[in-house]
Symmetry: C2
Subunit: 478 residues, 2 copies
Amino acid sequence: MNAVVREPDAAVAAAAAAARTWAELPLPERAHALETVADALEAERADLVALANAETHLDAPRLNGELTRTAFQLRLFAEEVRAGAFLDVRIDRADPQWPTGPRPELRRYRTALGPVLVFAASNFPFAFSVAGGDTASAWAAGCPVIVKAHPGHPELSRRTAGIIHAALAKSGAPDGVFALIEGVQAGIDALRHPALKAAAFTGSERAGLALARIAADRPRPIPFYGELGSVNPVVVTPAAARTRSQEIAQGYAASLTLGAGQFCTNPGLLFLPADAPLVDDIARLLGETPPAPMLGPWISEAYVDGARRLADLPGTHRLVWPDDDSAPSPRLLTTDLPTFAATLAPMAQECFGPLGLAVTYDDLQDLPAVLAALPGQLTTTLHGEPTEAEQLTSLTATLAERSGRVLWNAWPTGVSVTPAMQHGGPHPATTAPTTTSVGTAALTRFLRPITYQSYPEALLPPALREGNPWGVPRTVDG
Amino acid sequence: MNAVVREPDAAVAAAAAAARTWAELPLPERAHALETVADALEAERADLVALANAETHLDAPRLNGELTRTAFQLRLFAEEVRAGAFLDVRIDRADPQWPTGPRPELRRYRTALGPVLVFAASNFPFAFSVAGGDTASAWAAGCPVIVKAHPGHPELSRRTAGIIHAALAKSGAPDGVFALIEGVQAGIDALRHPALKAAAFTGSERAGLALARIAADRPRPIPFYGELGSVNPVVVTPAAARTRSQEIAQGYAASLTLGAGQFCTNPGLLFLPADAPLVDDIARLLGETPPAPMLGPWISEAYVDGARRLADLPGTHRLVWPDDDSAPSPRLLTTDLPTFAATLAPMAQECFGPLGLAVTYDDLQDLPAVLAALPGQLTTTLHGEPTEAEQLTSLTATLAERSGRVLWNAWPTGVSVTPAMQHGGPHPATTAPTTTSVGTAALTRFLRPITYQSYPEALLPPALREGNPWGVPRTVDG
């Protein structure tokens, strides 16, 4: 342990001590702190990318892009902070004529929840790790952050933490606004700390559900925002398979193998017509795709185990399978819709890596009932032809009911960081289906509303004062 | 059982079958359905108030006011539905120059979660019961509602349900948008039903935590919005006690005994200076207040038991106590701040009814540390003098951190239904501190965001179509 890595109790206690100061900081100062971190990360780009490459085996172009994304999202959240719309300020003037009786003066906004614990992910060593989206959005909301480092990139995590500490100190942020902790037990201890107010997690369903349980079992339960992965079903209509077989095969194979398949939006499940050559086109392309190094042996072993488990299920067939059964190569399994429907739970289980399960159907009309039985997904995708759009209304509604993002003639990997992005979905895609973990709306996870009734100007938070000194958008009398 | 009361399985199944139709209904039609229910309830006002009076012992003026409030909040949510701002529509145009890589077209809004189970409360037989705020806000969000009736007013619940069924049928809403179920086991069965998507509850901490646990233990956990009550601490500064002793005493006694103390915002905990006559003024007024009939014997027995438990704690003194120990009369206990701090958990436990615990302090500076240790509260209140406002900044911040609503020189009973109302707070005041159960923001509990990526116009929900046929507010490109 050194100054960068802290003990969980000390980290949460320091965060609690800093919470009020950080939450009350004028918005431009909080925004400036986020931008200072973004600048500092980019200033160390070469070092950080080299470290990340050594620890994760992801290539430099990808890591450079991811660092750009990480700095960008810090700056995007800084803009959100400056704009102040996230405070959702509502002012109701006193109204003696209000229909339910005299209405007092009410001034409401959203304030920071308090210390937030972030469990870093392995597969995005920048964008979903120490300085990633959960950290940026919690800071933007005005919450101190404790990050539990992912063991897959320990040196990068420490280096990032050191840069953050220096940048925050430079920007004048109070000590305690950030801390890095390491180890499974440290994460659990921090999650159980009475001063912790929320936690965010990106990772496996098993780990996420276990942590969600710990959060719910506290004497005072706290919100737990877990993004637990998904098999991201893709449906190809007969017309699309007929018209664009090559294009769809190429798109699918590219999306499935991007980043060695190590994305939570990886399209692991594909529904396609039984009589189409599409599945063979995909098989040919995947067969030609060389194995890419995965994040580490623990990931590739889990991938190979998961692939074997799926391949051993009665009714699945190995269409693409490496000669070396233990290689992290792309794999394609097939089955038919009745078999899939009868074995849905194990067949719809995520296998993290470049494995696709192609489910062939005879009649598109049989799909909705099966799709409706799927667990919640981050994304669902429909490949169809514009001419048949009107026959796809009900199928689209079914896909929308199962996920947080529905795509048309596109691929789910690649999650843009924008105001309209939604990265979430029904359980178990996330543990909190009313929220998103990517995009500007992510910061609302870490806010709670509070109303000041008949309070004197001098004691109101600036955003609620009559003169609106922070110049934030406000809704007055509805 | 009759047509009005349904079996839980059938009720949730019917709700699930109606969910898509109800969620997709044009906003004016959904709003009209809510208004039709409001009109129907008011048309039966005399009958309903008489029934409620017989079952709850609340008086007719109060019940008339509550029915007015209930109809008003249905109409207020109807207005929210028509305005469409709750959909939070965000459209990001495709942008090939987006800093993190080409951005696809993204269209995001908030859609209905699906079937919602509402556990009715006993103490508001209209406003927090069958046609109450949780029902109205879930309907407004586009969710079908199953209400588990409170056994405290069974006939009123059935009569209300009958009126709702007729009104919804008249408005053209699909069958399944509403059902009434009865009995503890029916509530649990419905809560465990796989098609249920969320639940809302107003009631005791014990019952609420047990139900929250059932929701969390489902194979697919669902959001559980529990409003579990509170002791609503009130702090009186030395200057206020000196200047306005009579006024504060009258205000406190009136708020504590309003509705026989049967409000979740009842100010059960009062901090006041040790050397002030205020406590004697309050004692005199409470001693003169006759007992009011409570909702039923189960409530008055729990009140009397809880009062005895508090009075038997070492260090509390009975300042106002009825000669008949089993009468539901107002009671006032006192203790001092060090004793309270040392016995905080049992002393801060809610005793539902007209019981106040007055905690005397020697120095206002000693309060924040004790207040910070309190469990989460629905409200906190500060009585002070304008001249001392600047010395109360830190105390105000502490009070704000413990609750969802902070009041200045006012009383917490009486929760106005408005855009800026917040009825919630840190655990255990509610199980979901990021939400409110009163006011127009309550409907966001029952919505989840979804993004349509690159979807063709014909398959988009109307609110997301390019031409904006529903005319809802939209944010384009941030």
